[in-house]
């Protein structure tokens, strides 16, 4: 079994290595016909840019994106600078330099990778999946009898912030940086999944398709790990299945199929304000212009946020969304599960958390207010602030850096719910409802707590569960996503997620059950 695991690890690492090296290898060569086609398609009017590329790029072969991309970005920046200087604004190209490099790169890619998409898919995704499964499946036997098995988590480099964890950290952060800020380096990855994208939406893959596909693959493989680790725990199995279903069907397949049917790309479960650009002008316009389905999406999006979300949270707590439906939660619960113990439980972190998450919510709300004001009054500024400037700031700081680079990249160091805990504006909104008007709580079981600390250690949201359990107090915290792991790891059966009557949900106690009732009365009277 150990051997199978090791073979799996090697296969996985080979797949990962090939995947990792792809951004910087490959051949890029664009023919003059392809190039003029591209210029026409994009409506590029800059003669400077066109002639520059015709001289330096067209019909020439480049080894790797590192050689190719800088020429494009330089040419674009130089051409734009010249046009601006000459006040030839019609000639200025508004596509961002790195996007231009990515788009041209996609056209220019040639050679082995492009000609062997299927094989390359197998050598990257294929080997990765096979290797990971070979690594994970032996646990059915190795974990022994069913039951919570956290043996050795703090002895392993990968799960105890050792060098493996730091490598994973560097890889994840690097991956997100490419995805968000240097998409031209993702061009080779897009070839791997072109056939899949074409079969779904009819279009070749972009870097976000790569991300979406990879997200589903990673979640599925890691869900297998969850199924094995928590095979005795029906709650975890049902929850993992649910979150996987919503990721693959709702977040991945439906939007692609909608594009194929010439409808807007939309993820029906992504609620505002997590879906912060729902009310952005381009989205509203696109929805309004898409006829019936567009209006339905507009209506659904608003109902989802204003009615469905709070009503569901009232009955089930925010777990129905954060742990059963949400994609960010889905990745955290599958890929992030090995790192859940790293979320800080200190009082300091709790203070930071409350300030940060509510600030992001406020930011999102103010931005949306400005956006809507701008939309209806058709002005670009509100009280002297440029709406688009605020939107761009949010997209960069919150949408890209916080949610992506930090939110996921920092899993191995800060735990798996960094984004959900500190940044997600929807989580903050759900949290208000959960804390003040909900039937959900984590019930504690009288005086059975022995303060061992398993619950707090494995709480991914950094809640000091033990602090409540050892007092016999129900846990009503806005940050709890109801993952159920505190209950799973408790050796004494102290914790249970419950949707019960609201009355008696909050039960501050001075003396725990077990002492004579006279004493309880005495103390409570004081």
């Amino acid at each position: 079994m150990k051997t199978i695991k090791n073979i799996g690890l090697v296969i996985f690492l080979i797949g990962l290595a090939i995947f990792t090296v792809l951004p910087v290898i490959g051949t890029y060569k664009i023919s003059s016909t392809d190039f003029s086609e591209f210029v026409n398609e994009k409506g590029i009017k800059s003669d400077l840019f066109i002639s520059d590329l015709e001289k330096n790029v067209v019909n020439q072969s480049f080894d790797g994106m590192l050689a190719f991309a800088p020429i494009i970005t330089d040419a674009l920046e130089k051409a734009n600078a010249q046009h601006r200087k000459n006040k030839e604004y019609k000639k200025v190209i508004y596509t961002k330099p790195h996007d231009m490099a990515a788009q041209l790169g996609k056209k220019a890619g040639s050679g082995f990778i492009v000609e062997n998409k299927g094989l390359m898919w197998f050598l990257t995704f294929g080997l990765g999946i096979i290797g990971a499964l070979l690594f994970i499946l032996p646990n059915v036997v190795l974990l022994g009898q069913k039951g919570i098995k956290n043996d050795g988590i703090y002895h392993e480099s990968s799960t105890n912030k050792g060098w493996v964890a730091w490598l994973v950290f560097i890889f994840l952060v690097g991956f997100y940086l490419i995805l968000y800020f240097r998409s031209e380096y993702a061009v080779n990855w897009t070839y791997l999944v072109d056939p899949i994208s074409e079969s779904l939406s009819g279009n070749p893959a972009g870097h976000w398709f790569v991300y979406g596909f990879m997200y589903c693959v990673v979640m599925t493989v890691m869900a297998v790990r969850m199924y094995i680790k928590y095979r005795h725990n029906i709650y975890q199995i049902v929850r993992t299945t649910s979150v996987l279903f919503f990721q693959i069907v709702f977040a991945f397949l439906i939007p692609e199929i909608m594009v194929r049917l010439q409808m807007p790309y939309y993820d029906f479960k992504n609620a505002f304000p997590l879906d912060y650009d729902f009310f952005f002008q381009w989205n509203l316009k696109s929805l309004i212009n898409s006829g019936g389905i567009g209006m339905f999406i507009l209506f659904w999006g608003i109902i989802l946020t204003l009615v469905i979300v709070p009503v569901m949270v009232y009955f089930f707590g925010k777990r129905w969304y954060c742990s059963w439906v949400c994609g960010c939660g889905g990745l955290a619960e599958t890929l992030g599960d090995p790192y859940r113990q790293h979320s800080s439980k200190s009082l300091f972190s709790w203070k930071v958390e409350r300030w940060l998450i509510h600030s992001v919510l406020l930011f999102a709300l103010v931005m949306t207010g400005m956006t809507l004001y701008s939309f209806f009054s058709e002005t670009g500024t509100v009280l002297g602030f440029k709406t688009s400037g605020v939107q761009n700031t949010y997209s960069l700081l919150i949408g890209s850096v916080f949610a992506g680079v930090i939110g996921t990249g920092f899993y191995p160091i800060f735990g798996n719910r960094v984004w959900c805990r500190f940044g997600c504006p929807l989580a903050a909104y759900l949290g208000f409802v959960q804390r003040f008007k909900s039937r959900f709580r984590i019930t504690t079981n009288g005086g059975q707590c022995i303060s061992c600390g398993n619950c707090s250690t494995y709480c991914e949201q950094g809640i000091d569960v033990r602090a409540y359990a050892q007092k016999g107090e129900n846990i009503v915290r806005s940050s709890c996503v109801g993952c159920g792991v505190c209950s799973a790891v408790c050796p004494r059966g102290v914790l249970k997620l419950e949707n019960g009557p609201e009355e008696g949900r909050i039960n501050p106690t001075q003396v725990l059950l077990g002492n004579d009732p006279d004493l309880m009365e005495l103390v409570n009277k004081k």
């Binding site: 022994g144 009898q145 069913k146 039951g147 919570i148 956290n150 043996d151 050795g152 988590i153 703090y154 002895h155 392993e156 725990n233 029906i234 709650y235 049902v238 200190s346 009082l347 019930t443 079981n445 009288g446 005086g447 059975q448 022995i450 303060s451 061992c452 600390g453 398993n454 707090s456 250690t457 033990r466 602090a467 050892q470 159920g484 209950s487 799973a488 790891v489 050796p491 004494r492 059966g493 249970k496 997620l497 019960g500 009557p501 009355e503 008696g504 003396v511 725990l512 059950l513 077990g514 002492n515 004579d516 009732p517 006279d518 004493l519 005495l522 103390v523 004081k526």
Partner: protein, 448 residues
């Protein structure tokens, strides 16, 4: 300002300190030689197994003590001079007190076995025990085999710990079935099977004769009364614990096996109190033992004594007995009294149900004639403490308990529930026709 000195920073000592602070402004000092800060010793095993780090076992952050003005002194108390209201530490410093609380807990039992003090022979109670285990049994290469002596809760925990690092374990149990002084036979049998399925070499009805030493004064083997010599590198002595009170032998505080206390937790010396594992009641409370080395009783004594010390004299009155534990992968809970065959009362009758495949079972004890519900043991099913506490207070019949058993289920959502099967078996055994009632929130939260 009155100065309260507490010896011991375990659950009892820390609980009394915390509650005194809640109720008053007194000066509080806690003395301990074990660790700088309070930690949960019930979690020591999880540190060795790699589930947690030591800091995770500390329920309060390090700033907590200063903020709450609880002074911590690291030191070992050598003498208590009750006449002079003074404790003397091993390093010679003396600390004056107005009130003294002895909360020094337990130490592992040793029954005079030859070789019991060798290197590599240890119990599992203190942080130092854990450090020793890490030293002598860090992996299966250093520790080729471990022998554990004593068939109780700490013994099985120690076996689980060592097995988590693949160290072969031989488990010597004096009784002919695991923990059958406490557990009824069906349950004891279930745990026997469970232990063996975890590849632990369980030897029932076997006593330790002596521990053999190598030339460096380290344990190298044990000899059993069956004539076997078992080579090993670590010997775990887990045959129970006894009060850790040797330092009081020269004081004038009345001692039995523990520090003798009355219901107010007062010792024979004025202004000296004892709580937790080291306290011994003059007379046992109900079916409880005079000395109860249980986590929650230590906590409750702390809560109670804090009331007394803050001007509200309060007797220690534990409510209905309850407890819980985990045997490797099987959780155990008990509410009320279910005695083993050995300790069974003459009026006590049992109903036992066991799942056909899984390690799940329950035993319900009730009064033969009156059918009064006496207690329940559950294995692999979680039950709701409040409900059983209420039913015991209300003196419900066993039939009632069966009928409303679903109210008491505390298993996580979507878990399979077995009340139907349990009640069906009960009906067929006792000729009743009870229909289990659906779970009702109203009943669960209605007050007794």
């Amino acid at each position: 300002m009155e100065h309260i000195v507490i010896i011991g920073n375990g659950i009892s000592g820390v609980t009394v300190a915390r509650h005194i602070r809640k109720l008053s402004d007194k000066k509080i000092t806690i003395i301990s030689a074990e660790t700088d800060y309070f930690f949960s010793r019930t979690a020591l095993m999880y540190i060795y197994m790699g589930h947690m780090k030591f800091e995770h076992t500390q329920p309060y952050e390090n700033w907590f003590w200063k903020k709450n003005r609880i002074e911590l002194v690291k030191g070992y108390v050598k003498h208590v001079h009750t006449g002079a209201n003074k404790v003397e530490l091993a390093d010679g410093t003396a600390i004056d007190y107005d009130k003294l609380v002895i909360a020094t807990g337990s130490k592992p039992n040793k029954f005079g076995w030859s070789g019991q003090d060798l290197e590599g022979v240890q119990g599992l109670y203190s942080k130092q025990d854990l450090d020793n285990l890490e030293k002598f049994a860090p992996d299966k290469e250093t520790c080729k085999r471990a022998v554990i002596v004593g068939g109780g809760l700490i013994g099985i925990e120690m076996a689980e710990m060592l097995r988590s690092r693949k160290i072969p374990v031989t488990f010597l149990v004096r009784e002919d079935s695991f923990w059958n002084g406490v557990l009824p036979s069906g349950e004891s049998a279930l745990i026997n099977e469970h232990i063996q399925e975890h590849h632990i070499d369980l030897r029932l009805g076997t006593n330790l004769v002596e521990i053999l030493s190598d030339e460096n004064g380290r344990a190298k083997a044990v000899v059993t009364d069956k004539g076997d010599t078992i080579a090993c590198d670590v010997v775990g002595l887990t045959a129970g614990v006894s009060p850790n009170i040797d330092f009081l032998k020269e004081s004038d505080i009345e001692l039995g096996r523990g520090v003798k206390v009355n219901r107010l937790l007062e010792t024979s010396a004025k202004n000296v109190y004892a709580i937790g594992d080291c306290a011994e009641q003059h007379e046992a409370i109900g079916n409880r033992r005079p000395i109860e080395a249980v986590w929650y009783t230590g906590r409750m004594m702390g809560e109670t004594l804090a009331q007394t010390l803050c001007g509200n004299p309060t007797e220690y009155k534990p409510g209905h007995w309850f407890n819980s534990a985990k045997f490797l992968d099987v959780e155990y809970q008990t509410y009320g009294w279910v005695f083993s065959e050995r300790g069974m009362k003459e009026y006590e009758q049992h109903f036992h149900w066991r799942h056909s495949k899984e390690k799940i079972c329950i035993t319900v004890a009730f009064h033969k004639e009156s059918k009064l519900f006496l207690g329940i043991n559950t294995f692999g099913i979680r039950m709701r403490h409040e409900i059983f506490d209420k039913w015991l207070t209300e003196e419900r019949s066993v039939d009632y308990v069966m009928e409303y058993l679903k109210d008491a289920n505390f298993d996580p959502e979507f878990y399979k529930q077995y009340e139907g099967e349990i009640v069906a078996k009960y009906n067929s055994e006792f000729g009743t026709s009870i229909n289990p009632k659906k779970k009702s929130w109203k009943r669960i939260f209605s007050n007794a």
